[in-house]
Symmetry: C2
Subunit: 244 residues, 2 copies
């Protein structure tokens, strides 16, 4: 029986949690201490509630939290077990480019290179789930950090989803930021990889052809309706960071 649960919150206790968080911490401790080995079945909620001298709902809250993080797996009737191969989730935040630049202590600038209505290449049309015959708003632009090339953005916007975008010139506000503001999306997908930058993009980024660049592709949707597909080419050396 751990006492932390009912312990009066004292000043000295740095890890002095109470309630369900104390339960959570204790369960976590047992997992890390290998009291309960990966794959092992841990006691039922009722049993733990009794041990900790709290209600089952409180144990449930703690276990649910651990389950959300992927540290334990729960199945009705089968019980709760320590995850064998905990799939760690790195949550990387996707801020607006301007803010990302400013967070690095640099001043942000951007310039539109192209702004046309055009038929998308097949790869783009497929991603958006649209036909190649639909004309889309095609925007190519550069982002700068302290006047150095930072990011090249090649974007296709579905005018059916965002009719207002057709009128916007995107010179005072970047498409990136404009869309976040006026066209919230319900879901999207991202994928990224490394590419040897091609000549055209290398010139824009002011680097050598063939340099390795981090390329991000992002598609966003509002319900069933595709909003935009964008290809982001970062300047060489750019790294994405996050914690586990």
């Amino acid at each position: 029986m751990i006492e932390a649960v009912r312990a009066t919150p004292e000043k000295g206790q740095e890890h002095g949690q109470t309630g369900w968080q104390a339960i959570r911490a204790e369960l976590l401790r047992r997992i890390h201490a290998r009291d309960w080995l990966p794959g092992a079945l841990i006691p039922g909620e009722t049993e733990l509630a009794e041990e900790f001298g709290c209600a089952r709902a409180t144990v449930n809250r703690a276990l649910r939290d651990l389950a959300e993080e992927g540290l334990v797996e729960r199945r009705r009737k089968a019980g709760t077990r320590v995850t064998l191969h905990p799939v760690r989730k790195a949550t990387l935040e996707i801020p607006v480019t301007r803010i990302e630049v400013e967070k690095r202590g640099a001043s942000h600038g951007h310039a539109v290179i192209e702004r046309t209505m055009a038929r998308p290449p097949e790869a783009v049309a497929v991603r958006l789930g649209l036909g190649v015959r639909t004309k889309l708003l095609h925007l190519r632009s550069m982002h700068f950090a302290d006047n150095h090339p930072f990011l090249y953005e090649d974007r296709w916007i579905n005018p059916d989803a965002v009719p207002e975008a057709v009128k916007e010139r995107f010179d005072s506000i970047s498409a990136n930021e404009w869309l976040v503001r006026y066209a919230p999306f319900t879901h999207g997908d991202i994928d990224f990889g490394a590419e040897n930058v091609r000549e055209a993009e290398a010139k824009l980024l002011e680097v050598h052809t063939g340099d390795a660049v981090l390329v991000v592709h992002r598609t966003t949707w509002n319900g069933e309706q595709p909003i935009t597909f964008v290809r982001l080419v970062h300047a060489p050396g750019h790294r994405l960071r996050t914690t586990l």
Copy 2:
């Protein structure tokens, strides 16, 4: 008053959620429909509970879920408001390499190239927060998918944190998987970027020197104690995918 909450679960209802999920769905609908604008204060739990004809705890569960996703912000006394600039979080899962390979329908293989006790280069020592004089277990190995090079792994393990690792040969089980199993970590950090692959690594991956490769650096800790630092070099063309 929405009825979905108490609705008898019928077969035809594809979006037929009940309970707190129905509340959540309705709240989400109002946010997306801009019924409640970004930044706006939404009704209190008590009020919503009354409207939906359920207990306050149920509304709380729904709101808490939305808050965890960053769609609303909650503060005691101040109430709940729709997030102004929802920082979209892409959660990318970091599975064990073997499982990642197998998920692609390929067979996984691996081979240890080097296994020594050595002093780490300064960059590694800094990352781990250790001195350059501490000898660490240095492991270099290759992962294969259907016998094609898939990933090159250059790893440094802190023997203080995982003494058992020094005895392990890592030929039947990869270091990656072994560590997940026997040395769970409490936290870590990841960063990734694109690099032009150097000659030595290019040979191992059987690609041309200078090809763009996705490089991941990962450090993991158990509490205060550093466990391992690893540099993962993916074969060219490898892309990481996730959803928003």
